[in-house]
Structures are given as C-alpha cells and as structure tokens.
C-alpha cells in the first residue's frame, strides 16, 4: 500500500512501503516524521508505525479515503508554541493539564502533582518537536491522573461507608 510522509510541512509521496522502510534506515525520514496511508485515521510518527507489524495496529474502524485534512499536513493546534510551520498535529497529544489540576485540588495532591508535571512537559516537548517524548509524557500524565482519581474516589466511598456504619462521626 502507498505511504505518504510529512517533510518540511508538506505532504510527500506516495511511496511504497519498501521505499519508506529504506528511507527510515538511511535517515531520510526520521523516526519522528509523520507518515500516513489510506485507512489510517491520522498521521503517526514513522517510528510508531514501523515498530509494529502494521495493519491491525494502525488501521482504524473508520477507514479514511483521503489523508486527514485533505492534501494538507495537519496544522499545529492553537497555542502550539514555537511551531510556526505547523507540521506536527500536536492537538493529538492530550496533555491532561485540566484533569491533573482537578484531581490535585479536589482529592489527591500526592498523585496529582506528578500529573501536572508531566502535563506541563507535554507542551514543551511538542514545541521542540519531540513527538515521542511528548507522547510518553502524555501517557504518564494520564496514568498519574487516573491513579489520583481512583484513589480519591475510593477514599470518599470508604469514608461514606465508615460513616454509614457509624465507625466515623460526621
């Protein structure tokens, strides 16, 4: 199947999978460069796509006939700092900032604070073009947010149970 790749803010291709792999080997396409082919919902870093065996991992249940965004490479989101050209679809990388602040203030700062740290890192990494790092930070922010959320929920339920049993007074 034919592949497209993003270079200098422009869509290149189509090229065959074999060419794509060899360009990855020679470094003509970097691991972090975005690639797309028919059937993929979005552009992904070449390293992500080629790391897997292909088909299942990247093909969504909503096959697209055109590259997302028509012939354009997805533009950087509003507020994407430092990305004037806009070659990186940074809106795809959630930062979980709002969520991590919410869990920090409303229940569990021990787990919420690391969440905010990683959430804040996402933006800087995206601005530097380190998509892989940004995805990693995003994943960690999500994990910490969920840990905080579930811990808080469990604590509230436990408290209410203790109150209901008359062990703890209001």
């Amino acid at each position: 199947m034919d592949w497209y790749y993003a270079k200098n803010g422009e869509r290149q291709g189509p090229i065959s999978e074999a060419s794509l792999r060899s360009m990855l080997v020679t470094g003509e396409i970097a691991q972090t460069d975005l690639v797309w082919r028919e059937g993929m919902p979005d552009w992904l870093p070449a390293g992500e796509v080629m790391g897997h065996s292909g088909e299942d991992s990247v093909t969504s249940n909503r096959p697209a006939q055109q590259p997302p965004g028509g012939s354009q490479i997805p533009q950087a989101g509003i507020g994407g700092t430092g990305m004037s050209g806009g070659t990186i679809p940074d809106e795809q990388i959630p930062n979980y900032l709002v969520q991590s602040i919410l869990v920090t203030i409303f229940c569990c700062w021990p787990f919420g604070i690391p969440g905010i740290v990683y959430a804040a890192k996402v933006e800087g990494l995206v601005a530097r073009g380190d998509i892989r790092g940004a995805m990693e930070a995003s994943r960690k922010a999500k994990t910490w947010t969920w840990i905080a959320f579930t811990t808080g929920l469990a604590a509230v339920l436990l408290y209410l149970a203790l109150v209901a049993l008359g062990i703890v007074a209001l």
Partner: protein
C-alpha cells in the same frame, strides 16, 4: 473525554448539594481533608468544600477567604471542562483533551499550586490570609 464531562456534571451536583449543606456546621456528607487531619497543615485544596458552599450561595468574598487558589483557577477549569465536554459530545473525531496552553503557563500553574501550599501554612500576616478563615 467522557471522564471530564462526568467530572463537570459531578461538580455541578456537588455545588447544588453544598448550597444547602454547610461543611462548617457538619451538615455536609463530604469528607474533610485527610492530609489536614493527619498533619494539621493545609493542603492546596483545603477549604475547597467550604468555598464551594459559599460559591453555591453566591458569596464570592467568603469563597475567596476559604480557598483563594480554587476560586482563581475556577474560570480556567470551568472553561476547560466546557471545551472538552462540548468536543466530547460532538464526538466523531475527538481524540483527547483539546485545551492547549503554552508550556510556560502550565509550569506557572504548578508553581502557583505549590507556592500557595507553602505560603498558606506560614502562620504570619499576610500569609495567614491564604489559610481558610
């Protein structure tokens, strides 16, 4: 993200509940801060439910005295929840939170929270104004 929409809905329910139940006189079922119970210190969220009670009754000044940080972050958080919530309800191509901020602003918010935490535990004027009172 559905979790965030749920959080927004839960916040509204809690606010509605707090309107008639004052945590200060023990008529609220919401648990007090366990960090405060264990250490006697105020965490960044301490005074939050009392601030919620004040806000639900439109007493902004009192809410500010209970937890100034929460009141200041509230417009930002509400906007975040509203934006994410609408994007989630529109569904289709939604792939995650859409609120983008410059990285420096994210760090500033983290600094605010940590700074607020430290300062509100200093038992001297004017820092004591940051503790719930």
């Amino acid at each position: 993200m559905s979790l965030l929409a749920a959080a927004g809905l839960a916040s509204l329910l809690v606010l509605f509940y707090l309107r008639g139940n004052d945590p200060a006189d023990g008529s609220s079922f919401l648990p007090p801060c366990s960090f405060n119970k264990a250490t006697g210190l105020h965490c960044p969220g301490c005074g939050g439910t009392r601030a919620g009670h004040a806000l639900a009754n439109f007493r902004i000044g009192e809410a500010f005295r209970k937890n100034a940080l929460l009141v200041m972050l509230l417009p930002f958080l509400a906007a975040g929840v509203a934006i994410e919530g609408t994007a989630w309800m529109k569904g289709a191509s939604y792939r995650g939170p859409r609120v983008r901020l410059p990285g420096s602003l994210s760090w500033l918010i983290l600094g605010l929270i940590l700074g607020f935490w430290i300062l509100r535990n200093i038992p001297l004027w004017p820092f004591e104004l940051l503790a719930p009172h």
